[in-house]
């Protein structure tokens, strides 16, 4: 088991090196534009060349990458081309903001989706139709519209919640909760719609399996069979969907972050990419890859725990 985890982590590191290398190679052709963007307008190409040399961007691309890599291994991700901030620190800061929103969103997603999905699958009838309709609405209404409506109602009209901004949880937990409420609801609708359909589907399949009937013939209550047995077996696929949603939300919260002026990972990555802030893009890529590797590993471990047949260690 430990060996398995180590093997996975090592292959994750190799992946990280490859992905960052590819990213760097993709960025290299834009270096000229990035340098002149940093200087601003009204500067001749000689000045751009001078600054490019100054920043070490004129060296062979591979040498630059290896430089970055050896610094990164030592924990130094460099400083932003534009703000001069240490990349490791700011990436962590922005990631923390987004994670605090995404994790809450996903926890609520799980709570709501599992409840709705299980109820719909095991009760059928009206409960199921309501769930289906709610899920359809979630797919149909873009979260932008939900965000607009909530901001107008809760922030501007009723003044219950802030319309913009983010308070770190470490600073003031209550203000944090208030600042993420509308963004979380906006994100929640779509992810609940997706996961509920998933849970409902696998639960229906699971409840039709033979072992469910057999367990019932032993006098075990339907409720226990549904929750203790069928749900556990249905959890694997749902967890996989959830892990995809997690990764998607890291970048996908971007629109919500923009609309609420939240300094999150998505908008940070977006802005850095538009500007061509090479050290920041590299840092973001590295963090993102490591995060994805970790999440996938965690999902596989939990899946193994849930489903003994799938244990690969």
């Amino acid at each position: 088991m430990l060996l398995y985890v180590i093997r996975r982590l090592v292959s994750g590191l190799v992946l990280a090196v490859l992905v960052t290398l590819i990213t760097f190679l993709l960025l290299a052709p834009s270096f000229d534009g990035i340098v002149s963007n940093r200087i601003g307008i009204g500067v001749t190409s000689e000045a751009v060349r001078a600054l490019k040399a100054d920043m070490g961007l004129d060296r062979p691309v591979l040498v630059q990458y290896l430089d970055w890599l050896s610094d990164a291994v030592r924990g130094d991700l460099g400083v932003s081309f534009f703000s001069g901030e240490a990349v490791g620190h700011t990436v962590g800061q922005h990631l923390g903001v987004t994670l605090s929103i995404v994790v809450v969103t996903l926890l609520l997603t799980v709570a709501v989706s599992v409840t709705l999905g299980v109820l719909a699958a095991s009760r059928g009838g009206a409960v199921d139709r309501i769930t289906q309709a709610a899920s359809l609405t979630g797919h149909l209404v873009p979260n932008l519209l939900i965000a607009i409506a909530l901001v107008y109602l809760l922030a501007i009209r009723l003044k219950l919640l802030p319309a913009t901004g983010f308070t770190p949880v470490t600073e003031d937990p209550a203000a944090w909760a208030r600042s993420i409420t509308i963004p979380v609801i906006a994100l929640l609708v779509a992810s609940v719609a997706g996961l509920t359909a998933q849970v409902r589907g696998t639960m229906i399949d699971e409840l039709r399996k033979d072992y469910v009937r057999t367990l019932r013939t032993r006098g075990i209550s339907t409720r226990a069979v549904v929750l203790r047995h069928a749900l556990r077996n249905a959890a694997g696929p749902a967890l996989t969907v959830l892990s995809f949603e997690f990764v998607a939300l890291l970048g996908g919260a971007l629109i919500v972050e923009k609309v609420f002026a939240i300094p999150g990972f998505g908008s940070y990555a977006f802005d850095a990419s538009l500007q061509g802030d090479v050290p920041v893009i590299m840092g973001i890529t590295l963090f993102a890859v490591l995060l994805v590797v970790t999440i996938n590993l965690a999902v596989d471990l939990v899946n193994g725990w849930l489903n003994p047949k799938a244990r690969i260690f």
Partner: protein, 594 residues
């Protein structure tokens, strides 16, 4: 799925009826119709709108709905919102086509190669885990200078990012299908690898791939709109995303400007998701309609004329299933059975004769769609039909118990053998966990399991089929039931194990004095163990009698035919075991993949 439930019976007309089924599924029809309608509107945009998407008029800036020639008004640049909306459809469709087809081409090609050639697999696996790890959105933006913001190139790259999903589906299917008989047969008959891949494997994976395509189109459309919302890409390409972004900025002056594109975009993506779900239901044969787990629809027990003192009396029992058109289709029509305490009754019949349905009716575990239309089931004089689930639960395990046919599928794969047995024992008898554990260990030893401690802690997939059947028997007799219903308890087992299991059943019956209702198609088994026999055909009992009578002088021609076929039994099984057909296996594993 147990072979005999009518809903799960393989339908010989299945292939031809796929299209029919889709046409009858309102979800598929409505969503596909909506999508076709929207796409057609896009294609007809030049005819339907009186302006080009980028034509701007200073006189129509933020014009209201219903302005002549501007049915939905003008946007902040005086462009015709209706025209832009229609042209945005085309942008979405092109995005979907590019994104989905690139993902399909890359994913299917690599999946075929990686799945079929074991040597290539580690390379493809690596490549795709690399692709999956890539922060997609970042990549699309980083590549902007190279793509020039052209959404078609962007969507092609996005297609590559989507391809791992398709790769996995195809690779899994290919690995699974590769060793199936028909591919082996194809190989023997001299087909080249390439033709095998093309002909058989592609055919087998088409279902999951078609389903995935709907979702690929949906996400491509969503990502294109998202990027356009963020301002990536040229302004002259009309897109729901850029329309929504502009409308959002214009929110307080013309709130509807953000609603139109959101509405059409939402309709398109939701339709694709729902169409995908409908396709999955149809192609994979699963009607995902849930119903209450324990919601038996039963008519009030009919008046009973026989006040017999037998342990189990089934009278005039009729069970029906609703057909897609809503009518009821009877699978059991007026069955009468009697079983005295301690007696063994063989319920014999071919698959589909209704014997398992009858057994499930006694246990009260018929599938939720089933309807008991009439009749009576009395156990020890107590009418079972119409009892509440909680009342039935009190009987199950303690008074009536059940041994299923297929040992593996009847154990919860993710719980240990021991925990499942302990849970059942405690539910039925209420003993303490410790005592339950000891009794289960003793039972496991009693049913002939050599190392009870080890088996107790094992998961179902770690034990053999014969062991699993012993475990199920142990589970059934744990509370010394009065009536044991055994549904083909030996059919799925090896011939050598069959005899052992039958011996065990006989021993246990004698030891505990249980009555046994043995459901089987096998007269060999019946001869071994049964006191009396009831022969079922097409939902009716055609003949009843003692074993001796039936074997010596069966009156009904059907019984005689069954008896004649006993000789062939070892070679030809009339009941197909679960998931016997390769197609069913494919469909099932595809379901797990999701």
């Amino acid at each position: 799925m147990t072979a005999e439930t009518p809903t799960g019976r393989p339908d010989p007309r299945r292939r031809r009826s796929t299209a029919h089924k889709l046409l009858r599924d309102p979800q598929a029809v409505v969503t596909a119709g909506l999508l076709l309608f929207i796409v057609a509107m896009g294609l007809l945009a030049p005819l339907l709108a009186s302006h080009g998407p980028n034509e701007s008029s200073l006189d129509h800036i933020d014009a209201g709905i219903g302005t002549p020639d501007y049915p939905l008004g003008g946007d902040h640049s005086g462009r015709d919102i209706w025209a832009r909306l229609l042209h945005s459809i085309n942008t979405s469709v092109v995005s979907a086509l590019i994104g989905a087809s690139i993902a399909l081409i890359v994913g299917v090609a690599a999946g075929l190669v990686g799945g079929y050639y074991d040597r290539a697999r580690s390379a493809t696996e690596w490549t795709f885990s690399l692709v999956m790890t890539f922060p997609g959105l970042l990549l699309l933006i980083v590549l902007m200078p190279l793509t020039g913001g052209d959404f078609r190139i962007t969507m092609a790259i996005f297609g590559v990012l989507l391809s791992p999903g398709i790769y996995r589906i195809v690779r899994n299917q290919v690995v699974g299908v590769k060793n199936e008989l028909f591919v082996d047969a194809a190989r023997v008959s001299g087909l080249t690898d390439r033709r095998i891949l093309a002909r058989h494997v592609l055919f087998a994976v088409r279902g999951p791939v078609i389903i995935a395509t709907a979702f690929l189109c949906g996400s491509s459309i969503g990502v294109q709109a998202g990027l356009a919302f963020l301002g990536v890409g040229p302004a002259t390409v009309p897109s729901f995303g850029s329309m929504a972004a502009e409308g959002f900025q214009n929110l307080y002056i013309a709130p509807l400007q953000v609603v139109w594109p959101s509405l059409v975009l939402g309709t398109m993506t939701a339709s694709l998701v729902l169409l995908g779900n409908a396709l999955r239901d149809t192609l994979e044969g699963a009607t995902r309609r849930p119903s209450k787990v324990a919601a038996l629809k039963a008519a009030k027990a009919s008046a009973v004329d026989d006040a017999s003192s037998a342990l189990l009396v089934v009278q005039d029992l009729a069970i029906a299933y609703p057909t897609p058109s809503g009518e009821l289709n009877e699978v059991v029509s007026g069955v009468d059975l009697r079983l005295e305490a301690g007696e063994t009754l063989g319920l014999v019949g071919e698959s589909g004769s209704g014997k398992t349905q009858t057994a499930f009716a006694v246990l009260g575990v018929l599938p939720p769609e089933a309807v008991i239309t009439r009749g009576s089931i009395r156990l020890d004089g107590r009418e079972l039909l119409g009892l509440k689930e909680s009342e039935l639960r009190g009987l199950r395990g303690r008074t009536i118990a059940y041994i299923p046919q297929e040992p593996m599928s009847n154990l919860d794969p993710s719980a240990t053998v021991g925990s499942q047995l302990v849970e059942g024992l405690r539910a039925a008898s209420g003993v303490s966990r410790q005592e339950a554990r000891e009794r289960v260990l003793a039972l496991l030893a009693r049913v002939g399991i050599p190392d009870p401690e080890h088996t107790f802690g094992s998961y179902p997939h770690q034990i053999s089929g014969g062991m699993a059947q012993r475990v199920l028997i142990a589970g059934a007799v744990a509370c010394r039931p009065v009536l044991l219903i055994a549904d083909e308890p030996t059919t799925a087992l090896d011939v050598t194990v069959q005899a052992e299991i039958l011996d065990l059943l006989r021993d246990l019956q004698e030891e505990m004095g249980m009555a046994v209702l043995l459901v089987t198609h096998n007269f060999g088994v019946v001869a071994d163990i049964c006191d009396r026999i009831a022969v079922m055909r097409d939902g009716r009992v055609v003949e009843t009698g003692t074993s001796l009578e039936i074997f010596r002088e069966a009156r009904h021609p059907y019984t005689r035919m069954l008896l004649d076929s006993v000789l062939d039994e070892e070679t030809v099984r009339t009941d197909p075991p679960a998931a016997a057909s390769p197609m069913a296996a494919v469909a099932e594993s595809a379901g797990k993949e999701k």
